[in-house]
Assembly symmetry: C2
Homo-oligomer: 217 residues x 2
């Protein structure tokens, strides 16, 4: 039986479950389904274990953290108890995330359109950096927002940049391109309603054409 009280209140009735206590102090309660824990306490936290009451196997764990969140675990029966230190974690290596998309697109800005050139990546503005700032064939400024999955939030973000950039008489007029591996219908509708062009990117294609120069052949 598990009870959490903190950012919300959550209760788990009595049942057989898997409890992980990790080296960093975190405690996770897993069921036999689902890819995330049902209930947990993130480190840093402290675990206080109350030994089983006499004549019963019931023991009580109280896990607390600094902000005062608490996780109570009432253990009726222990089916198995194993402790194996796992040691250092070498770390996960990832490829194909948004940062890679942005880097590949920066190398091949002509994917955005004939005659496009890169001004700079992470073009700074007072409200955050624009992913790519480019110039089109006519020399006009183009702000590009790159996303792996294009949703409304991304369109709003680009809209804020465009509003701000278009107040700069040296840059204006600045047009926008919303580029993503996948663009949700609502995001596309909102973008096009605001005069922002949408472009679906293909990661494999981009990776297969590492530089603009290859496109000359």
């Amino acid at each position: 039986m598990v009870d959490y009280a903190g950012r919300l209140t959550a209760h788990l009735p009595e049942a057989t479950r898997l409890i992980l206590v990790k080296a960093d102090g975190s405690v996770l309660v897993h069921a036999d389904v689902g890819s995330k824990a049902l209930n947990w306490m993130a480190p840093p936290c402290t675990l206080r274990e109350q030994d089983p009451v006499e004549d019963t196997d019931v023991s009580l764990w109280t896990i607390t953290n600094k902000p005062g969140e608490t996780l109570l675990i009432r253990m009726i029966e222990v089916l198995q108890d194993t402790e194996i230190p796992l040691g250092e974690e070498p770390g996960l290596i990832k490829d194909g995330v948004e940062a890679h998309l942005q880097a590949l697109l920066a190398e091949q800005v002509t994917v955005l359109g004939e005659g496009f050139s890169l001004v700079r990546r992470e073009f700074p503005t007072p409200i955050g950096p624009v992913d790519l700032m480019c110039r089109d064939a006519t020399g006009g400024s183009v702000a590009v927002e790159v996303k792996r999955r294009g949703e409304i939030d991304g369109v709003e973000q680009l809209t804020r940049y465009l509003d701000l950039l278009n107040r700069d008489v040296l840059l204006a007029p600045v047009t926008g391109v919303f580029a993503a591996q996948e663009i949700k219908p609502q995001a596309r509708t909102l973008a096009e309603d605001r005069g922002i062009r949408c472009l679906v990117l293909d990661y494999e294609d981009l990776r297969g054409l590492p530089t603009d120069s290859l496109r000359l052949f």
Copy 2:
């Protein structure tokens, strides 16, 4: 050693780790830190196990799902192997999420201001439902966006609703209230800049005053 290829590619070097195989078929690879798995395959998926090569303990697991994502696990050594069916999960009970906030506020709309009355919850618009539609003391329409944590996204969401609602001559003018347990400074600034009133809610207070009628005493 674990390799994932699917929505992205990810690689885990050889190290000691915990592997969970759940009843729903999902496979999770955990390190000794962190509240989420390093690498995993969500159900539904199929696990193919290749027995250890002769003269070694190395076995190979191949987990695949319908879209063609794959998880390869190369097991050099097994420190412990335990199988315990956990049975049915009664389910997690939560209290204090956004839906509860909205319900409590709907019962006590005068928290929003003297003489406020509720028109309806989840007031429909073509771009999604407004959390609460109210009328103020003067009969003017008020759209309320309720959030647990008020951030810029929520202000943008309410702004879209207001833009649209104010095109309706029968409703206009519609004012906005952004109500949340916690409002981030940037969200407050943006909201007030757009003439949207911000209101910080106290969940305990709201729960303690379950109906407007109590406020009459």
